[in-house]
Symmetry: C2
Subunit: 476 residues, 2 copies
Amino acid sequence: MAKENQFVEQIADIDGDFPQWYTDVVLKTKLVDYGPVKGTMVIRPYGYAIWENIQQILNARFKENGVENAYFPLLIPMSYFAKEAEHVEGFAPEVAIVTIGGGEELAEPLAIRPTSETIIGNMMSKWVQSYRDLPLKVNQWCNVMRWEKTTRPFLRTSEFLWHEGHSAFVTAEEAEGFTLSMLELYKNFMENCLAIPVLTGRKTEKERFAGAVATYTMEAMMHDGKSLQSGTSHYFGQNFAKAFNIEYQGTEGNLQTAYTMSFGVSTRLIGAIIMTHGDERGLVLPPVVAPIQCVIVPIAARKGGVIERCEELKAELEAAGIRVTLDATDNSPGWKFNEWEMKGVPVRIELGPRDIEGGKMLCARRDTLEKTELPLENAAEGIKELLASVQKGLLEKARKHRDERIVYADDIDGILAGVENGKFVKAGWCGERACEDLVKEKTSATARVYAEGESREFCACCGKKAAHVIVYARAY
Amino acid sequence: MAKENQFVEQIADIDGDFPQWYTDVVLKTKLVDYGPVKGTMVIRPYGYAIWENIQQILNARFKENGVENAYFPLLIPMSYFAKEAEHVEGFAPEVAIVTIGGGEELAEPLAIRPTSETIIGNMMSKWVQSYRDLPLKVNQWCNVMRWEKTTRPFLRTSEFLWHEGHSAFVTAEEAEGFTLSMLELYKNFMENCLAIPVLTGRKTEKERFAGAVATYTMEAMMHDGKSLQSGTSHYFGQNFAKAFNIEYQGTEGNLQTAYTMSFGVSTRLIGAIIMTHGDERGLVLPPVVAPIQCVIVPIAARKGGVIERCEELKAELEAAGIRVTLDATDNSPGWKFNEWEMKGVPVRIELGPRDIEGGKMLCARRDTLEKTELPLENAAEGIKELLASVQKGLLEKARKHRDERIVYADDIDGILAGVENGKFVKAGWCGERACEDLVKEKTSATARVYAEGESREFCACCGKKAAHVIVYARAY
C-alpha cells in the first residue's frame, strides 16, 4: 500500500508550509479552482456540496427564528452608500463599479453590492409603515463583491457567496437581543455541525463593521494558530434606520424610528473547515456537512459477488440517509485509500470476499485513521454511530488544540511571543485606540474579540489600569 | 361579506387591462417590489418562497440526471465573448460592464454575466483532459444581468435569478440527447408541478440562442393568449468547445473536441404561473409550489375553543407535510377570504363553533371557488386529496384554455386575425428567413416553435411549398 502513494498527487507538508498545503488541498481535492479574473474563484461540485449542506441547515434554523428569504438587487446606486457616513468610508474603497449598461454610459454609477444594508434599508422604509409590520426579518443567499488585493480561495476573494440576514424591530432591546440570538445560533452551528469551537463576543470599535453600533464575532483557531473570523452579527441601533427613514406609526399613532441589525456567514466557512480539521493527508470533513460521508472500497473486486455485495451495502446505507459512494473504478485499493483520505471522507469501508464470508466490514475513520470491524448486519446503524463518533472526536480534538494555545501576556513582548508561536493571547487593555494600534504595529496581531467576564490588572501596552481583556491573534 | 370587498385593495380587471392586472397582482400580493435601479426587482418573501419550491424540485431532478451544482464567477472578461462570433453579437449589446474596481480603472473591462457559456467553457477546457472526464454535467443557481429597455417584474428585468446547466460529452448524439432529455424534464415539471401545459420543440434559426446549433423551447400560453418562452435547452455542437478548446485524449490517445449543451429556466416561471392561472380575484397558485397551500380562517373566533381547535388542526396538517397557516388576526372573516383569495392560496378552511360541533370543516378551493364540507377526522387526508384535485384541475383548465385557442391559418391575414384574438396560429412556412421576417413585421407575431410532425401545403407568407409548420404567436 505504501508504495502506491506515488499515484496520489503530493501535497505540501502541513507544518512545514501551511499556506502551500492549503493551496494544494483546495485545488487537488477539486474543492475550488481559480477563475479567469484575478481574485475570483470557481467553486467546484465537491466544494459547492459542502456549501449546500451548510445552507440547508442554517436555512432551516433561520426559518425557525421567523426569518424569511428574499432577494434584493445586485446593483446599488453609489449615492446610497453616502447616506451612512461610516459605511461609505468603510466600503467605498473596495467596491466594483458598473459604469456602462446596454452600450451606454450610465447617468449614475452603480456599485456591485459588497453587502446590502443600504438597499435593504431603502426597501424597509417602504415596507415598514406601522408597528404591525415589525419585526421584519429577511435574509438572502447571494453573491457579494469586495475588490481585494491579496486573495486566497474561500478565505478572501473578490466575489464570494454568503447569506445576509437583515431585521428591523420596534425596540433597541429586541434588535440587540436578536443580534445576540443569531450569534448563539451560529456558535451552536459551528460547534455541532462543523465541529469548530469558537470564541464569541464583541469586537472593539476599531474592528467593528462600518456603520454598526456593535459587532459581535465568532473567532476560530486554525491549524497554525491564526484566527479566522467566521461570522458576524451586527447591531446598528438607529444608524441605518435614520439614514434610510425606516419610520412607522407607533401604537399611539406617533412616528417612530426602527432599530436594525444584520448577520452573515460566507463560503469562508469552507476555509475554516479545511484549516481546522485538515492533516498531512489532506482534508478531514465533519460528517454533518461532508458531501460524501462514507466510501465503500471493494477488495479483490473481481472475485464473484464482491461488487454485488458492495452495491447492496451502498443501497442499504443510502436508504438510511447516509451519503455514500462506491468506488468501483479500476484503480488499486491502495490508490483509492489515499485518494479518499485526501478528500477527507469521514468513514471508509473495505469489503472483500473474506469480510463478506465472515459477515463483517472493515471500517476506517478518517480523523484518527483507526480501523474497526463492524458487522454487516445492521450496517447502517454501525456506520451512523461511527459517523457520530467522528463528528464528536473532531470537535474535541479542535477544542483541545485551541485551548492548549490560549495564553496570557502582560506586555507587548509577551503578545508578540505568543502570536509568533501560533497562540491566542489574552491581555489587559486600557480601552485606548492608541494602545490597540500599537499592538497591531508591533506584533501584527489584532484585537479579535473582547474576553467578556475576564479581568486583568494592567493594559499590556501602556501599563495603565486595564478596562477590558482582549483576545489578540494574527488573523486571516 | 360582499360589503367587505372595500377592505381589499382593488386590482384591475383581468380582461379589461391585463398588463395593469398583472402589475397590481404582483405588487399587492407582495410577490415583488421595484428596486431602486431602473429595471431591477426585489423578490419579496412570498415570491421567493415560490422560487425556493421550484428550485427544490428541479434540483432533485437534475441530480437524478447526474448534474452537479457548482458556482462560477459573476464577472467575465469582455474578450471571452469575442471568442464565439454569434454569441458576442447576441449578447454584447445588453451587458452591464464593470470598469472600476478597488478605486482603479480596470485594464480589461469585465462583463456581468448575461449567461455563462464562455466562462464555463474556459473552465471545462482545464477540467476535461481525458475521455474519462466526460460526460461533465454542472449546473449553477445564480443571478444574471441583461440590460433591458422595457422591463416587467419576473418577465423581463435587468437582473434575474435562474439556473444554468452546462454539459460536455464525447459524442454529438449524447449531447443532443441530453438537450432533449432536459427539455422533457422541464415539460414534465411545467405540467405536473406548475400545472402549465407547454408546446415543446425546436426554434427557428432566427430565434435560437446566440451560438447554438439548435435551441429547443417550451412555450406556454398566457391568459391573454400570448406566448411565454418558459425555458430553453440548447445544443451547441462543437461551437463553444472549439472556441474554448474543450479537448481531451480519446480512447486511442488522439486529441478530440467535446460536444456541449446548456439549459435554463428562470424566475420568469413565477410570471408564467401568475399569467396562466390568475383570475379576477388575483393569484391562483398551484399547490405543488404554493408557499401556503392551505389557510385556516376561524369563524366566530372569540367563541370558546375555536382558536384552540384551529391550532390543533394546523398542527395536524403541518405534521402531514402540508404548508398551512392560521389567520388569527382581528380582521373580519370576509376580509380574510378576499385577502387569501388574492394571494392565491389553493385551499381555505373555515372553522367555526357549529363546524366543530358537527365534526366538519368547510373547505373552499381557490380555482373553482367551490365549497365542500369535509370531516375533521383525518383532516390531512381530505385536504391532501383536495390539493391534488386543485392541482389537476388547474392543468386541465389551462390545457383547455390553450387548446381552444390553437388555430390554423393559410395567409398573413389569417395569422394576424389569430394573434389579434389571442390565439396560437399554426401555419405553413417555406423555410426562408424573409417570410419569417415579414410575418413578424405584419403581425407582431414571432415563430415560437416548430410544430413537429405536422404538415401544411403552402407557406402562409409566399405561397410556395411549405417545408415546416410553425406556431406563430405574440410573445412576452
